[in-house]
Subunit: 341 residues, 2 copies
């Protein structure tokens, strides 16, 4: 350890010198290069400046610098289908192979048929059956391995890329910019906590304990060899969407965020809760209005409310009323994806 | 921010120099000065060395360095009564003042009488009624303020000190030592998560999101002025004790710890789960065998199993069988409290 420490110190020293020499240059570097100048970019930069400048009346102590981000539709693509739902559908053949009796039982029969049109008509009850069959009855390690394998192999239908490459570069810049200024960044997703945790560290540099999401229970027990094992069981524990988001934030983070980012009605209460705190607060919504580079859905396009990622006209009106900043993907973002440039 | 950044850099630079110059001295400093030499201290130092030395076969990458600590009886005094129970009993007069109809209803009537002997006979149902009356029906901010006020004023009956001063100095050193070596330290308590979060940052340097505990639900809503509010409601959400500890760890941390510290049967499953992982693992139990400097209860003293902080003979035998290290407060700790010296 002594050697490692010394190496670290030397490295730290050189690094500090380099930083000191480059300080002025760094200070002038744009922290959000994928953002066009405009009210959205300005709001982020001003918020960070106001909350991290010691002399500012809006200064926020480092231990209170909490920022929360919805994931699907805010940090990465959610259209035309949530990646986790895709995962569950893709898992069905393996589940049916292990339990052949399911092959003739709905909704598994329809999934096995590959009939996408029929699948689009699945009821919430159908989807719950699929979720229970594909996400529970296995150990937390088995789930993790299965999800990792899928993520490595699966490609999205439009860009033919791994889902993990469909994250928005401008939002990655916001994550990094906030962290560089002492903010802890959390994902607060209506999606499955266990699923998002599989890739959050690799994709967003966000460790598992900073991912808050919908969660089923686990059950502690022992396998046939007496080895302790945590099994995912079909008991719904946390519904981390709508009112469940501020509730989940209190449970898992224990502090009110100073900044929150979302893109749908499922994020409204998180933004309300964030804004209701004292001092400087930042509440932003990503609007999907770029049919060419990504997708367009929601009120800005005069489009009907989408089944997923619902950005209703009511939410748009509320944002305007509350002073929440709506991010236009089309106008505010120079690039959408890292691989685009 | 530019000024702050420059100041930080300058400070960082000086600090790096100071560290470099003092590196050898630092490396020779005892990280656990309140511990006597012995198998317990040796196990901790060897574990840290093995898991943080790059060339070690037991090296653990920084992002996997998770250590979990029970709180009552492991990090601070739990006898003769848990501090949170004391808190709830002390809150009863204020609750009765607000709801006078409770004055003649049990168990509140007994609490108001001050009859400690009768209170010692409370059933779990009585305690639940007291918990619901004192911990719910208020906003999370109101609870926090009430608990902060109590902690500032309350004194423990034996040492006449604030409860927050009753933490074990040797365990504080372990927390600091692990953190200095890249470990994230978490409290995993059977006690109330919201209660422990009120003081964990001040007492242990552990932020709210790194406190996992038993938790009631909150409900998101709006007050009469339309302001968003999170209210603590009488719905039990997480029972973070026994099997609930590894389950809580998965839910809140999402990774298996490499080190776990406890002191009772409520910690057994957490230690089992920790030990069942690959590579280097550390599982330790604090034994209260020092009647003079703290308290003695449990098997080592031939004493009957205590109602709280139960360290049974069965747990003691299990620890020996599993190779878990039992920390003797009497023999392993030079000092118990920081103010003792």
């Amino acid at each position: 350890m002594r050697l490692v420490s010394t190496l670290r110190l030397t490295h730290g020293l050189v690094f500090a010198w380099a930083l000191a020499l480059g300080a002025q240059a760094l200070a002038q570097t744009d922290p959000l290069p994928s953002w066009n100048d405009g009210s959205a970019k300005k709001a982020i930069v001003e918020f960070v400046h106001a909350t991290t400048t010691m002399s500012s009346p809006k200064f926020v102590p480092p231990e209170q610098r909490i920022a929360t981000f919805d994931q699907d539709g805010t940090l990465w693509v959610e259209h035309p289908i949530y990646s986790q739902l895709m995962y569950c559908l893709d898992r069905v053949p393996a589940v049916v192979k292990a339990k052949p009796e399911l092959a003739n039982v709905e909704p598994f029969k329809t999934v096995m048929s590959g009939n996408r049109e029929a699948m689009a008509k699945f009821t919430p009850q159908d989807l719950e059956k699929i979720a229970v069959a594909t996400l529970t009855g296995i150990s937390v390690e088995e789930f993790r391995a299965q999800a990792q394998n899928w993520l490595a192999a699966a490609r999205d239908p439009r860009w033919k890329r791994p889902y993990t490459e469909l994250t928005y570069k401008p939002m990655q810049e916001v994550l990094g910019y906030l962290r560089a200024n002492g903010y802890k960044t959390f994902i607060v997703t209506g999606g499955g906590q266990d699923f998002v945790r599989v890739y959050a560290e690799q994709v967003y540099d966000i460790p598992p304990e900073q991912v808050v999401g919908s969660a089923g229970a686990t059950s502690f027990g022992y396998d046939k060899d007496g080895k302790p094992v945590l099994t995912k069981v079909p008991k719904f524990l946390l519904d981390d969407d709508h009112a469940g988001k501020p509730e989940g934030i209190h449970l898992m983070i224990g502090q009110r965020p100073h900044a929150a980012f979302g893109n749908s009605i499922g994020d409204q209460q998180m933004l309300e809760y964030t804004e209701a705190g004292d001092g400087a607060r930042l509440a932003m919504l990503v609007l999907h209005d770029d049919a060419k580079r990504e997708y367009a859905y929601g009120p800005a396009q005069g489009l009907p409310d989408s089944k997923i990622g619902t950005f209703t006209q009511a939410l748009y009106d509320e944002a305007k009323k509350q002073g929440w900043i709506v991010i236009s993907m089309k106008n505010d973002w120079k690039h959408i994806f890292a691989w685009e440039q």
